[in-house]
Symmetry: D2
Subunit: 214 residues, 4 copies
């Protein structure tokens, strides 16, 4: 049976939970579209996160890799289009690192595009009544770092697709950040299952706009 690797992060920025791990951990050992899902937690640490991710890829030989991270303040499940080759940390990571304008991979390409069918995923989620959109930036913190590193590694492994999805705060987090939007864990779980099944079944992405004027 083929394997899907899905990752979430440990808590950061003063939170006691990370919605990505809260939801991703529930998907461990679930079967989706004939594939076994394996969930792994990544540290919210530049460098270490990629060491853990690469080790998981090497040991599991997955057919699909989906990394998931918290985007506090966003309203929906946002499917990232692109990762850029720069770390620029507004806050320190969980080991105190705060790189500014350093490349993730020296002499690596400036960016990697997601190899997931991002438009098909957004379309499938919206059809299922789950708020979703294409995002044109994954930021410049550990999430972008992991997405870039993932796609850089997968560029050397034929036929393995990968990408990144940002999710909102959980309601319990937003309760402590008045005004912040949130999404229930159950809604996110349904969205991630649908994203995985869509990624497994759609080889050529659909041609619908997911662009931004700026």
């Amino acid at each position: 049976m083929r394997t899907v690797l899905i990752t979430g992060f440990e808590p950061f920025d003063g939170e006691t939970v990370n919605p990505s791990w809260e939801v991703v951990s529930r998907l461990d050992n679930v079967i989706i579209a004939g594939c076994r899902v394996v969930a792994r937690q990544l540290p919210c640490v530049f460098g270490d996160a990629l060491v853990a991710l690469n080790a998981a890829i090497d040991s599991l030989s997955p057919t699909l890799v989906l990394s998931v991270g918290q985007a506090g303040g966003r309203t929906d499940i946002s499917v990232e289009r692109v990762a850029i080759n720069v770390d620029d940390a507004r806050i320190a990571d969980n080991r105190g690192n705060q790189p500014v304008d350093t490349p993730i991979v020296a002499n690596g390409p400036a960016a990697w595009f997601s190899s997931l069918p991002i438009k098909a995923i957004v379309s499938a989620l919206r059809d299922a009544g789950i708020p979703a959109s294409v995002s044109q930036t994954a930021g410049t913190f550990v999430c972008n770092h992991v997405m870039y590193g993932l796609l850089h590694k997968l560029s050397g492994i034929p036929d393995v697709k990968g990408g990144f999805i940002h999710i909102p705060y959980l309601p319990q987090q937003a309760a402590a950040h008045p005004g912040a939007p949130s999404m229930a864990a159950e809604t996110v779980r349904q969205g991630l299952e649908l994203a995985i099944s869509t990624a497994l079944m759609v080889d050529n992405d659909i041609q619908i706009t997911g662009g931004a004027t700026h």
Copy 2:
């Protein structure tokens, strides 16, 4: 057994559902803190909504009345502090009425404050991990119209408390409004049950800030 009247609205503004009725209808006949909850739907129509609300109050003699409405674009369960004596409709209601700057009750007071313990409700919801806040305005459409009319009527009925709560879009609605925040029906249901039990049990509101600088 005492009765709690809770109301939701029919859909408006082109929506096919109204989250207030989707959730409120689930509370019909539920027992909370020893009281039976009765759920009623109100038309999204100036005047008619109050006719229906007043008839329900007269026939049920509730001990508590909570009206609930949709606030598309808001992120949390917002407990309204005050209703003002004016109708000013940015869009037409469901019968095509679009009043501008007309009083709800001729010669009525300029405003009525909620008689619910709004701070205790917000505090209870946040403690339970449900995003909530005090709102300083219920707008000038049918929601404010109903809140004002409700409190005006209750001002003549001793010992009956009432107020209004705005809730976000459901996820299925936000899926069609890219970027809009949402809240799962189950989260809202828990929030409304907690609001009702808090309103039944707290006679004197707690003294914590719920204010806005502007």
Copy 3:
């Protein structure tokens, strides 16, 4: 010659300037529509602000009173519709007072509506290319306190109109609050002059919507 009293506030909340006073002070002694404008600064202090405002009204006998305050985070010139009879301070004022849910005027009406032609003012500003809107809440801090106190006092003085306008941060303030919107002092000044001339010349407000659905 008739007098128009316009007030701005001293800085608060850690700012070194208050845009309301920066602009209002430039209008001192200006002649608008045949009236002399007198600018006065109010302390950002519950109670004291109204003492200063009332003294100015008593000594100047103005025909129109316009109070202006900072609304950091708002995007446009917002003309307030209503002030409510409650102080609820999210932050302390400049003397450390932080009242919670206390009435501004004991046994006063729940609210006072602006006696300015708020729709005509918004319309005039937009026609002149100045961003403006009707606001349904002035908050619950010193701005609302002053607006309520002003209208309460004017209710006892025939033929004197009054109201409140909130303005955004100045660009220099927003430069220190990344992401915050701002408005140039010159744009605000033009807006306030136009608000004053409109208030002096329009006796019956125009009937256009300025409402909010929530």
Copy 4:
């Protein structure tokens, strides 16, 4: 005397003005830091915009190229960090083109980073009291198209720097989009002059964060 080429766009998306050209045109023939500024307008058309830009670069041999575009809804002067090799048009351009997920340069790199000192520019603007920030995405419309094409062309011309800056609506535009933030033309003009002088004088960008967590 060395030349600085600065470009703005013609109006699009139903607007009658484009703030970029309104301000950029005022800089034509201005001398900044010993360089003559030449202002050119670009059509808001995929492909044609780059034809016009490339012709201007070829004829003027500028030492610096700064392209400027409208970002309706943004609050400040945002200095773009990166352009990505994709056109994905949410709306049609001025000739009706609406490409979806097509590369700007076939087989071009996935992205180009700005060669301007973006952190030094943001820092200089803030120090001067002008709201500014680093932006991690220029979108996927004609602005990103021009930024990518510009940097792709400059990659073959030694010692010429280039980049892109997005600016808010003008107040006169925001007056027709209630709630939209804006910036006065004069504030933008000062910001662009400062951006040019900083770009001319700073060879190695400063090391301060301008990152985003997501």
